[in-house]
């Protein structure tokens, strides 16, 4: 596949300048350990988030925007669970949080959640989707990649190491799950791999265009193929039949560079060359992917840290500092460059510790704001195209994975039947696949119709999963609540808490009591229908 490489690579000059405030030139192999860098992680967190708060406050003043109020505990706890472990809080944990009088309980819960299996589970899903999508080519084993990411998360691997392993991986796909990332993108001379690595890890969209008018066009096309040349030795082997299939990712000793065609039709050659212009001298003998991986994670290269910070900020706020999140560079300046830079520097100093970054982001004032719009910040509405100012929390559509898990939590349905997490995941992934649609190109790009449109609404209203959710199997939360010896009003209040993490307003309570008491349906059915209504509501399906 040929790529018309564009101005995005123009960021080369911009991006390799040393990090502000960081020691330039620390070799990747010789990084200080986190203990040396951050004697007191708590104090570090605080100073950075205060700086971030100041930057955002200043920009709000300049734009004459008044921030929304601080979120209530109920609003916050639902959000923080969805953002960190990918589901709404279970009833018991919700109640214990609300009762807790500790002033630091909001940061405590962040730390606690990051130590749960739910955290590993959720983020291994996110990374698997980012790395290979929901329906990767058959050469790759999505399942083993997920398992590998889970391991990486549970052993607390740093982000630079994570990227290094994915880019340099070799081995059999079931033995080293990391190889499944590249196995998914090796078609067409590994051009998808070249573009994917740049976009995902560096926030550089090399496949974009607008190259025609650019004075340095030829040089840029070279750059793409020079990057592609790092995959020249990469090979995939298959042994056995369907039953015993072994797929391996290997590096051959192929000494050749890459040949590509210029627009004029002339063939050119590209040698493996890093973005900063360093040619890999003895490229015929070097393990090229390893050389590339080492370069990517060099702390003085801002790409890796800024791209991850942008992605994580986008995860927590619904909008990153650039739109799209993974298209960074001088052609697309960030909305809050100081915040991005500050967080990236801090992330590198923490030795690429993602949990540290999550702690920092979730302790900014902005993260604690309500999503309710006030007079004074109506203009801050990125959903309608304005650049985000972070004067309030933005409402996010739950992802398919979040919605699925939240339904399970809210209903405790589907608990029986699955022997373990793996079975449950396999079942869920099959279920999610029905919503995947593709674009018909060779770049393996896909999207989902589970995006708040009609197919999702149909599933939520009529689907199996919802039937199970409002079913009255013994052990379901609905049955437990109905069996409690309480008034209708109290039952309604409990169901609200389960589904929406809040109590009903007086108006809602009265309205619903009236429906429940006037219906001809048996009481049980009336409450099933109420639960259906709560789970189908905008409030349940939106992360706010």
């Amino acid at each position: 596949m040929r790529w018309h490489v564009c101005s995005c690579i123009g960021m080369v000059g911009w991006a390799i300048s040393p990090l502000i405030g960081a020691e330039p030139g620390i070799p990747a192999s010789d990084k200080p350990s986190p203990s040396i860098l951050a004697a007191s992680p708590q104090a570090e967190d605080q100073s950075v988030n205060i700086l971030v708060d100041q930057y955002i406050a200043t920009s709000l003043r300049e734009q004459r925007l008044r921030p929304s109020a601080r979120s209530s505990d109920m609003e916050y706890i639902r959000r923080v669970y969805l953002d960190i472990v990918g589901h709404i809080p279970p009833l018991e944990e919700l109640e214990s949080f609300l009762k807790n009088k500790d002033r630091n309980k909001r940061s405590t819960i962040v730390n606690q959640l990051m130590e749960t299996d739910g955290y590993i589970h959720y983020w291994s899903d996110i990374w698997t989707n980012l790395l290979v999508g929901r329906d990767p080519p058959r050469a790759a084993s999505r399942e083993h990649l997920t398992a590998w990411v889970s391991d990486s998360l549970s052993t607390g691997q740093s982000y630079d190491q994570f990227v290094y392993d994915l880019v340099s991986a070799t081995g059999e796909r079931e033995e080293n799950g990391a190889v499944n990332f590249l196995l998914s993108h090796l078609n067409d001379q590994a051009t998808p791999a070249t573009a994917k690595i740049s976009q995902l890890f560096l926030g550089m969209r090399l496949q974009c265009t607008q190259c025609h008018d650019h004075p340095f066009n030829q040089w840029k096309q070279d750059q793409f193929w020079q990057l592609n040349a790092f995959f020249r030795q990469t090979r995939q082997t298959r042994e056995g039949d369907d039953e015993t299939l072994k797929v391996k990712l290997l590096n051959s000793d192929d000494p050749s560079p890459v040949y590509f065609e210029r627009r004029s039709g002339l063939m050119s050659v590209a040698f493996p060359t890093l973005f900063d212009g360093t040619l890999i001298e003895d490229f015929s003998d070097t393990n090229r992917r390893r050389a590339l991986a080492l370069f990517l994670i060099k702390p003085e290269n801002r790409w890796l840290s800024e791209a991850l910070v942008n992605r994580m900020w986008g995860h927590f706020f619904g909008y990153g500092f650039t739109h799209p999140m993974d298209d960074m560079g001088p052609h697309n300046p960030p909305t809050h460059p100081e915040v991005l830079r500050q967080l990236a520097v801090d992330f590198v100093q923490s030795n690429f510790d993602v949990k540290h970054l999550i702690r920092t982001i979730t302790s900014t004032e902005a993260y604690h704001r309500s999503s309710v719009i006030y007079r004074g910040n109506e203009r801050d509405d990125p959903a309608s195209g304005s650049a985000p100012s972070f004067s309030r929390m933005y409402v996010k559509q739950m992802t398919a994975e979040q919605l699925y898990r939240s339904l399970i939590i809210a209903t405790q349905a589907d608990q029986a039947g699955a022997k373990n997490n793996k079975d449950a995941d396999a079942r869920r992934d099959r279920w999610l696949k029905q919503f995947v649609v593709t674009f018909g190109t060779d770049e393996n790009d896909e999207t989902t119709t589970f995006d708040g449109t009609i197919p999702q609404a149909l599933m939520m209203m009529n689907g199996d999963l919802m039937q199970k959710a409002v079913g009255v199997d013994p052990g379901s939360l609905l049955v437990q609540i109905l069996q409690e010896n309480t008034s209708d009003a109290e039952k309604i209040r409990r169901l609200y808490l389960v589904a929406l993490c809040r109590y009903p307003s007086l108006q809602e309570l009265n309205g619903l009591k009236r429906v429940v008491s006037t219906t001809n349906s048996p009481r049980l059915i009336a409450f099933q229908d109420l639960f259906w209504a709560l789970l189908n509501s905008n409030e349940f399906m939106l992360n706010h």
């Binding site: 596949m1 607008q210 309608s384 674009f439 018909g440 609404a457 009903p504 209504a533």
Partner: protein, 426 residues
């Protein structure tokens, strides 16, 4: 809303009310245009315009389809054949060759976007991708302009068949494509059998209480859109028109004429949907991203599939008198490089490529614009995506000077200053 018909079918009243509440909060055309728009809706209803987009995901080669170059080394192995129109096309489109008096080929498209996602955006919206605004795709514009106003229609007005499409941008989720598979199967279309209408009503009454509370708290557009999507979904659930999805209702002969494959089914489905009153149907045929070994793939797979289904669709629309009011477009993200690459494939090429249009009052039988003898440069006037969009809007009787006001107050023209492609207007 005085232009709405006085006797709405009972079924449709709630449908209408649902849209009414959503329209009030979504992006609306600038106030001084509002009256014109309403006037427009009533005209549209009378003329019942519709549009079918045949989307060729991956970017099809122009030289191997509609703009053959037999004299050039770039020409490839396919020979040109004569057609019923004033142009020659690839020998592997023999059925289409007999219908080209109804369709025109624009051979001088030139669009600059050579990346799939950017090209897809451009050719769906008429705009270059922007970091600050999300433009609506043509299907969403049509849905917004007339979809909700087609009397008695209880299906979504923008339906995408057999693949992914572009979104509604600032027009909001209610104008997003409803995506269905090419066999017309819609999952979860009916409530479980034990949920009788009385229970569904009870559920919806409770849902209304919960939803309105959240909307009143003012958290932006999403809560209101959710409610509007549910209103559309309810229309769909209760609709007898979902019969249109059932392509198996067609006779075996007809199904075979379209082709027993995804695209064939999709085109047949498109005809059924347009007959039912759906305003915009996009049918996807992927697999044109032929970077290697392009010729056998086109000859044995893509072109026969395309030729069979597209010709059957045009024949049927024409025979049933629907072609006059149905605008048909065939296109992908871009064309493919005139030069054949080292892998016997062709790469992305937006500089000079072809789009096929017809129906909806557009003049057929023409070859508009041309490329040089090697298919590399446009000779004479080149057309941009915006020109195509202005022309399509004209054909759909949507005035191309409509200005939307996004909720941030920014005025956005429905097309990006496109000029009408005059020869198509007859």
């Amino acid at each position: 809303m005085k232009h709405l018909p006085t006797a709405l079918p009972a079924m449709n009243r709630r449908h209408f009310l649902g849209h009414l509440s959503s329209i009030a909060s979504l992006a609306v055309p600038a106030m001084h245009f509002a009256d014109r728009i309403q006037l427009h809706a009533s005209q549209l209803r009378r003329s019942q315009r519709a549009c079918i987009l045949l989307w060729m995901g991956g970017g099809p080669s122009h030289i191997d389809t509609w703009d053959p170059k037999p004299e050039s080394t770039n020409g490839g192995p396919f020979r040109p054949i004569a057609t019923s129109g004033a142009m020659q096309i690839s020998e592997h489109l023999p059925r289409m060759a007999k219908l080209m008096h109804l369709m025109s080929v624009i051979r001088s498209m030139s669009t600059r976007e050579a990346d799939h996602s950017r090209g897809r955006y451009k050719m769906h919206t008429g705009y270059t991708p922007s970091n600050t605004i999300q433009h609506p795709s043509l299907g969403s514009i049509v849905s917004h302009q007339m979809g909700t106003k087609v009397p008695g229609l209880s299906l979504p007005s923008f339906i995408s068949v057999g693949g992914a499409s572009e979104g509604p941008g600032f027009l909001g989720m209610t104008h997003a494509p409803f995506s269905i598979s090419s066999n017309g199967q819609v999952s979860n279309l009916k409530p479980p059998s034990h949920i009788k209408p009385v229970r569904l009503r009870q559920r919806l009454e409770m849902l209304r209480i919960v939803e309105n509370h959240f909307i009143q708290q003012k958290r932006g557009l999403a809560p209101t859109e959710h409610k509007a999507i549910y209103a559309q979904t309810l229309d769909l659930i209760g609709s007898a028109q979902t019969e249109a999805f059932n392509v198996n209702k067609e006779t075996q002969t007809i199904r075979e004429r379209y082709g027993e494959n995804g695209f064939g089914r999709g085109c047949l489905l498109a005809r059924r949907l347009v007959e039912t009153g759906v305003s915009f149907v996009e049918v996807n045929l992927g697999g044109w991203d032929n970077h290697r070994d392009i010729f056998p793939v086109l000859k044995d797979q893509r072109l026969p599939e395309l030729d069979q289904a597209m010709s059957a669709l045009i024949e049927d629309l024409n025979q049933r008198g629907l072609l006059e009011t149905t605008t048909l477009i065939w296109m992908g993200e871009f064309g493919r490089t005139p030069r054949i690459n080292a892998n016997a494939g062709r790469d992305h090429w937006p500089r000079s490529w072809s789009v096929v249009v017809g129906g909806g009052g557009l003049q057929g039988g023409q070859s508009i614009g041309k490329t040089d003898q090697d298919g590399i440069e446009v000779v004479g006037k080149a057309y941009e995506a915006s020109d195509l969009f202005a022309t399509l809007c004209h054909s759909l009787k949507i005035p191309s000077d409509i200005v939307y006001t996004s909720r941030t107050g920014r005025p956005v023209k429905i097309t990006d200053n496109g000029q009408l492609i005059k020869p198509l207007l007859g």
